[in-house]
């Protein structure tokens, strides 16, 4: 066998067995020239490792730090911008919430008003006590239709309680307003009939 090539010598220095390593080792064991060559290779590597460290002629820290600080500033500005946007969004949310709260208060007041008006009309009807009175067919039919629609509204008023606050208040106001309208009409129907018949 011819002497080991540099590829083989280099491979022999690698940890683990590579293909052909066993054959190369066999040759190495009996070849003084290749042993010397491998030793020279080891020494060369040792000398490479022992080369003095080359040091920078200039201190680069100021440049590195300045660049890194500039990058940090940019990052902070970006975060600040993001934070600013977030703050603006939060502020908008607060304003909207306040407006919503104000609207909710306004709606609640309006509901109270319309409920009071509804109670007032109920009392008028109660005082009139149409059930105890004789009514003509048309009046009875119209009054019946109005009472049916009021009954439907009352059922809706019960179910609307399950909605979320904002939707519920708006629905309550609308339904109570509608109820007041129907009650108004019912009162009118009874009182008009009464007036027509001279009560």
């Amino acid at each position: 066998m011819s002497h080991l090539s540099m590829d083989q010598l280099v491979a022999l220095r690698e940890p683990g067995a590579e293909p052909g390593t066993a054959t190369a080792r066999e040759h190495l064991a009996g070849c003084a020239a290749c042993q010397a060559e491998l030793q020279r290779l080891d020494q060369r590597v040792a000398r490479l490792k022992a080369l003095p460290a080359l040091r920078p002629a200039r201190d680069q820290w100021a440049a590195v730090n300045s660049r890194a600080a500039a990058a940090r500033r940019v990052r902070r500005l970006r975060w600040a911008a993001v934070g600013g946007l977030a703050a603006a969004a939060a502020l908008t949310l607060v304003v909207l919430q306040r407006r919503t709260e104000t609207a909710q208060v306004t709606t609640a007041v309006a509901i109270d008003d319309v409920m009071a008006r509804s109670n007032q009309l109920e009392r008028v009807l109660e005082a009139y006590n149409p059930d105890a009175r004789v009514t003509d067919g048309v009046t009875a039919r119209v009054a019946g239709e109005l009472e049916d629609r009021i009954a439907v509204l009352d059922r809706q008023l019960n179910t609307v309680q399950m909605l979320d606050a904002r939707t519920r208040d708006a629905a309550l106001l609308r339904l109570w307003q509608e109820r007041v309208g129907l009650l108004d009409a019912l009162v009118d129907v009874h009182l008009t009939r009464a007036s027509n018949v001279g009560f």
Binding site: H3, S5, M6, D7, L9, V10, A11, E14, A33, C34, A36, E37, R40, L41, R44, V45, R47, L48, K49, L51, A53, L54, R55, P56, A57, R58, Q60, W61, A63, V64, N65, R67, A68, A69, A71, R72
Partner: protein, 181 residues
């Protein structure tokens, strides 16, 4: 790694460096400035390139130190950044790997015992960039061929053949050739 380059109080320094403390980052720089520059200078052709690699490396360290999870040594992490930057610089410069041409223009500088011989520094300097990078990363820094191949975007065989070619040249230039019968 060179044991001389150890960052004392590394946990405390790291914690402060991760928070962007400039003094802590400077401690990291001071601890590894020389080995990083040395690695860069051994791989790159010019002092200017090596200085650029030094700056790029530590800028990256300052920027990314929060991502260092402490899996390996800090030096190992810094060194991988430095090696990557140095190899990137080689690729960017697109230096030619025309060994024969180089040999024409570089003459041995020392005559010893009647033969032509260079010192190791000069011989290393004379190697083509890629060969020199492989020799340095493998023989001195201790990277495996797999790691070198990964960093260079080449095959393991390429790394191995570059190492063998480099040693063949170094052997010749250093006057170590001995006839093997």
């Amino acid at each position: 790694m060179n044991d001389a380059y150890v960052l004392t109080d590394s946990e405390v320094v790291l914690s402060r460096a991760r928070a962007g403390d400039a003094a802590a980052l400077e401690r990291v720089y001071r601890a590894y400035e020389t080995p990083v520059y040395n690695l860069a200078r051994r791989i790159c052709r010019t002092v200017e390139d090596a200085e650029d690699v030094l700056q790029e490396t530590f800028y990256e360290v300052c920027r990314s130190i929060g991502q260092y999870r402490g899996d390996g040594s800090l030096w190992g992490w810094v060194r991988s950044i430095a090696a990557s930057k140095a190899l990137m610089r080689l690729r960017r410069n697109k230096y030619r790997d025309t060994d024969e041409l180089d040999e024409e223009f570089h003459r041995p500088t020392m005559k010893v015992d009647g033969g032509l011989r260079m010192d190791l520094e000069a011989a290393l300097e004379r190697l083509p960039e890629t060969s020199r990078a492989v020799v340095w990363l493998h023989d001195v820094e201790g990277y495996t061929h797999e790691e070198i191949a990964g960093m260079m975007g080449k095959t393991v065989s390429f790394s191995k053949s570059q190492l063998a070619r480099a040693h063949t040249r170094l052997r010749r230039w250093l006057g170590e050739e001995e006839a093997r019968a």
